[in-house]
């Protein structure tokens, strides 16, 4: 991505306080809290212990809600508006990766029974160092991923709440601070209530808002009737060539690098894997992945149509990145739909952003409080201390995310893809090799994860850091940026990390027998009980070797 300074006031968007949409957003948040409260009792007693089974469809919806953030809701249509055909790399990467997750990892993860990334690497490789790297990576993913969410909330929040004008900040910046404050506050409340059931509800709100917006725009403007996902094809004549012509904006190499990184990132993201432990059997884990992909495709097949409608309605060229990132809302506004309806579409975007940010922050803070603090720093930490550290981590995440989002380096989809490159480079090889090659050992994992972190960091310093540091102007090394782009660095990183992990594992001792048995149990076709983990079966609760 070129380092064009971002314009952060969506000029075309009607910025003012709107009562009805504001009430809509606030009542939506209230609804999430109420649902969380109502299911609290069931959570405490029944959720894990009584073996309540979450079915295919419901878990599929949860996968969808967990998955679809501001990047899917706003960013994807935005990147297609800005980059045309290149934007499709995001649709492809974010949807087709689920197949790889399904055939290689979903059922095995279910059997392993550990659902946080640090837990997996810590136990599988029997190493506290691996656990620590996993925890730091999880925290970093949460931070980088959430910058894109904060940007989305800030932009859409402007439409709903107007310029609230905090002293010293622009309208967009004030809104980022305001929305992040709401998110962290909401998280503190909902974290206490344990709102698991919310996922399915959030999916329904999100998809209804998005599809209703698309159908209303398409119908009112005469673009489409029953199937806008196909009917927008007729618009290609009218749209400028930039929209569909291949490789005019970005190269073939970057296209592949981006799509590849998003695929492997999908398979390494901690908050995605968590969905597989809540189901009753591996079979449900598999089928709910199929359902999840179906629910995701509903939105992903519609996003290009929204982008096409938006571009045509906007007319002319020179849309700012901020306008592109709000194209879903902007299109509804340009189609002159009623205000409350546009607000409804905007509210869907905020729901998507808040739901995903909540998941990310909880994963990030538990990595700090559970995996680093309680497991490594202070082993006899009390429950209260852990909760305190967890809360502090959420607030810290909120603060640094807000700061980074005040002047973000790239459009939403690009920001989020940095997190995918990270997950793909550091965690995916560990999950994949850890599950499919029993001889992967501690030394190999440590060497591989470190390599992955380094390869991810280099292009981030090369391309992204300069946008935050005034004395640096533009990308440091354009050649490096061309071959190891920050947005798709996993294409280079994954093969190298695989090679390093395998090489070091072969050069050092084989892992102990109990670890091998653990891996074998993950692949045994024998059915397991809901509460069983592979560890219970092979009964190997030995402390870490290092």
């Amino acid at each position: 991505m070129s380092a064009v300074p971002l314009q952060l006031l969506p000029e075309g968007l009607e910025v003012s306080f709107k009562l009805l949409p504001a009430i809509l957003v606030l009542s939506m948040l209230l609804l999430f809290l109420v649902i969380g409260y109502l299911f609290k009792v069931a959570d405490a007693e029944g959720m894990w212990v009584a073996g309540r089974s979450i079915g295919n469809v419901e878990n599929g919806m949860a996968i969808g809600a967990n998955w679809m953030s501001a990047a899917s809701y706003l960013g994807m249509a935005g990147i297609m508006v800005l980059s045309g055909f290149y934007g499709l790399a995001f649709i492809v990467g974010w949807s087709t990766g689920y197949f790889i997750l399904l055939i290689f990892m979903a059922a095995q993860m279910r059997r392993f029974g550990k659902y946080t990334a640090p837990d997996f690497v810590g136990d599988r490789f029997n190493s506290d160092s691996a656990r620590a790297i996993g925890a730091v990576t999880t925290f970093l993913i949460g931070f980088v991923y959430a910058i894109g969410q904060a940007r989305g909330m800030g932009l859409v929040g402007l439409y709903i709440f107007g310029d609230i004008g905090l002293p010293g900040l622009s309208g967009y910046q004030s809104m980022v601070v305001f929305m992040m404050a709401i998110t962290v506050g909401y998280l503190t409340l909902s974290g206490m209530l344990g709102a698991t059931k919310n996922m399915a509800v959030q999916y329904v709100i999100l998809i209804v808002a998005f599809l209703a917006g698309l159908y209303a725009v398409g119908f009112s403007q005469g673009y489409s009737t029953v199937l806008p996902q196909i009917e927008y094809g007729a618009l290609f004549d009218q749209l400028s060539n930039e929209f569909s012509e291949p490789f005019t904006n970005e190269s073939y190499y970057l296209w592949i690098a981006t799509a590849f990184s998003l695929v492997v990132g999908t398979c390494g993201l901690p908050h995605v894997l968590v969905r597989f432990y809540t189901v009753e059997s591996e079979r449900t884990a598999r089928w709910s992945t199929v359902w999840g992909l179906f629910f995701i495709c509903l939105l992903y097949l519609s996003a290009p149509a929204f982008a096409a409608f938006g571009v045509d309605l906007y007319g002319g060229v020179g849309m700012s990145t901020a306008e592109a990132d709000t194209i879903v809302v902007l299109a509804a506004q340009l189609a002159e739909l009623p205000r409350w309806f546009v607000g409804f579409v905007a509210a869907g975007g905020i729901a998507a952003a808040i739901a995903t940010t909540a998941g990310l922050f909880i994963a990030g803070s538990s990595a700090i409080s559970h995996d680093i603090y309680a497991n490594i720093i202070k082993e006899d930490a009390t429950q209260r201390e852990q909760v305190f550290v967890g809360r502090a981590a959420i607030v810290a995440l909120g603060v640094i995310t807000t700061l980074a989002a005040l002047d973000p380096a790239a459009p939403i989809a690009a920001l989020v893809s940095y997190a995918f490159s990270l997950a793909g480079a550091v965690l995916f090889p560990m999950f994949f090799l850890g599950l499919w090659w029993e001889n992967t050992n501690r030394q190999g994992a440590l060497a591989g994860m470190t390599t992955g972190l380094v390869i991810w960091t280099i292009p981030m310093i090369n391309e992204v850091l300069p946008t935050y540091v005034g004395s640096l102007d533009g990308t440091i090394s354009p050649t490096l940026a061309q071959w190891v782009p920050a947005i798709g660095s996993a294409l280079i990183a994954v093969p190298i990390v695989f090679a390093v992990t395998i090489g070091v594992s072969m050069a050092t001792e084989e892992p102990p027998e109990d670890i091998k048995r653990l891996v074998r149990q993950c692949h045994s076709p024998e059915p397991m009980q809901q509460m069983d983990s592979a560890e219970d079966i092979v009964d190997s609760d030995a402390p870490a070797d290092d």
């Binding site: 055939i103 073939y252 079979r283 091998k516 045994s524």
Partner: protein
Amino acid sequence: MTDNDTRESENTTHDSADGRVEPDGGTVTSAAQSHRETDYLDREVNLLKPSTPFMRDHLRVVWTGFAIWAVVVFGPVTATAIAPGVMTQTIPGIGFPLHYFLVSIGAPGGALALSFWYARRRDKLDEKYGIEHGSGSSPGTGEGTPAADGGVEE
């Protein structure tokens, strides 16, 4: 995708050669029987060297799906880079340029169809090996089988 029958006879032959099959005269298929006699905790896990009949069958499905997936996902883009003229032609009727259609609808749709196909195939494998999910049966692994023979790469 070959039919399961040939696989079963192959598996039986394979297992008999190892002297591990002891027919119990029951009604289960030979695949299900060899499954019962396999101690999965003693069998090596290696993506490239399936060590049990079940994993061999499973990996065949996995690799088939993976190959098709790779073509569906990266094929149209690559073809567009190689032959832009052919790939950017407009599809009559719906108006899409071919490459745009194949990438934006073909790839996600293809992945969804493949996922469905995989889940179905995997269910059939469970059936073949007599594995039932969610019935509350306890994990019953066999015992005393010889060490992993490494299997054969196919």
